[in-house]
């Protein structure tokens, strides 16, 4: 049986959060009432983090800003459908941005074929953000559950999850990055997700 999961309560940037309490749910309710200032406060609070998420997925600054713009218009028009019973407002905001970015990626980024140009572009793209995904992920105590569950996965499966979630990689792109057959990558992701599901439940 699937019970409705309890939302993870965590302070992402504790210093800021402690100094200036910010009620995402209340701001979304104000957006639903047509208060543009509330949308602006959400933008000022989360814009740079949301753009970071979109940019990592989309890998192009102008397109990432277009995605963020569309996402904020969607937040504005859909704020009335946000249900605090189903999760926190901050997560809702991030989900809208991530899905807008993923839609863009799936619509615009060609799945890799192994031609040289694509490979070059990919290597550049993966080199650009700096260190490898696993290094940039901060394994902090506040995300202990997810961290613990990710750590239980073997390296290849964990890499698959991170490349997909953070970088918007398709199965084929992950296969290129990990230099593994496509079928193997699909199996890693399927088993990795099943293991995570069990661990996170």
């Amino acid at each position: 049986m699937r019970a409705t999961p309890a939302p993870i309560r965590r302070a992402r940037r504790p210093v800021v959060t402690l100094n200036t309490p910010f009620d995402h749910n209340a701001e979304l309710a104000a957006c639903a009432r047509g208060e543009r200032d509330a949308l602006r406060r959400l933008y000022e609070r989360e814009g740079r983090y949301l753009l970071g998420v979109a940019l990592r997925l989309v890998r192009d600054r102008a397109s990432a800003e277009d995605v963020l713009q569309d996402a904020f218009v969607a937040v504005w028009t859909r704020a009335g459908s946000f249900d605090p019973q189903r999760g926190d407002g901050r997560g809702w905001l991030y989900s809208i941005v991530r899905h807008a970015a993923l839609d863009w990626v799936r619509a615009h980024r060609r799945t890799v074929s192994a031609d040289e140009e694509t490979l070059d572009a990919l290597q550049e793209a993966s080199a650009e953000p700096g260190p490898d995904v696993a290094d940039t992920v901060a394994w902090r105590s506040s995300v202990r559950q997810l961290d613990a569950c990710l750590e239980r996965l073997d390296v290849a499966k964990r890499q698959c999850v991170l490349h997909a979630y953070l970088d918007g990689c398709s199965h084929a792109e992950i296969a290129e990055r990990l230099n593994a057959p496509l079928g193997t990558v699909k199996a890693w992701i399927r088993r990795g997700l099943a293991a995570l599901r069990e661990c996170l439940a």
């Binding site: 600054r61 990432a64 800003e65 999760g87 799936r106 990689c169 199965h171």
Partner: protein, 252 residues
């Protein structure tokens, strides 16, 4: 992996969960993503599974390095928002020009009046400080401060002088205008059926409109700047979102 290749199969719980996980993780194709989105409103198990994955994986999104948005991005977002709206307005594609809305609905909308009221407040504030910013009261018979709806910072000032027989629109701040769109300046006095276009406005540039083209100005006359298609409103009425709005104040 059998994601959403099949639109209406009987769903085993583990299939539903794998589909939700793929959707949140981002590995589904565009077509499969669309299929999930189409299914979500009527499939509670899928909604629950998507919510599960979104909540559980959120900590990963928090590890991504922030990126500072361009300074103009907020103006672009604001300009792309649907005009003052009733409770549930469907989202419009960003590039589409909003269809003309019935004038009466626009005129009666709450946000418009709220904006106008704020503009009145801003005008009063502006008048209070006017001597210190060098505006010569005797020359201007009317002044209007245009502010963005729900904002208090003035964006433009309108000065109308009988002596000069002209109405002058002066920018106080820059206005970001999306490509292929234009700013259009309008006015409407009490008793008019519809607003009158005073012409297109270049962002950051003043505009002078001869008063002999207009009926005599009235106190409390509405002025506004809307975002319109590149060549201006095709209907002769405002069709786009209101970027700035204010009402005229008669100077003593």
């Amino acid at each position: 992996m059998t994601d959403a290749q099949h639109p209406n199969p009987p769903h085993r719980p583990e299939d539903t969960d794998a589909l939700a996980a793929g959707y949140v993780l981002g590995t589904l194709s565009a077509a499969s993503r669309a299929a999930v989105r189409e299914r979500l409103p009527r499939d509670e198990a899928l909604r629950d599974a998507v919510a599960f994955w979104e909540q559980r994986l959120q900590p990963l999104a928090d590890t991504v390095a922030p990126a500072e948005p361009s300074p103009v991005l907020w103006s672009r977002i604001e300009a792309a928002l649907p005009a003052p709206r009733p409770a549930a307005t469907p989202a419009r594609p960003r590039t589409a020009v909003p269809p003309p809305k019935p004038w009466a609905a626009w005129w009666g909308s709450l946000a418009l009046w709220r904006g106008a009221a704020l503009a009145g407040f801003a005008a009063a504030t502006f008048l209070a400080v006017a001597p210190s910013v060098g505006v010569r009261a005797p020359a201007a018979q009317f002044v209007v401060v245009l502010v963005a709806p729900n904002q208090t910072a003035p964006g433009w000032v309108v000065q109308a002088s009988d002596r000069q027989r002209a109405l002058r629109l002066v920018p106080l701040a820059d206005t970001a205008v999306p490509e292929q769109r234009s700013l259009q300046f309008w006015t409407k006095a009490d008793g008019w059926d519809a607003p009158l276009s005073l012409g297109l406005v270049q962002p950051g540039q003043p505009l002078e409109v001869p008063l002999d083209r207009l009926p005599p100005l009235q106190p409390n006359q509405l002025f506004e700047i809307t975002l319109e298609p590149y060549n201006g409103s095709p209907t002769g009425r405002p069709t786009g979102p209101i970027l700035y709005i204010g009402r005229s104040v008669q100077m003593l």
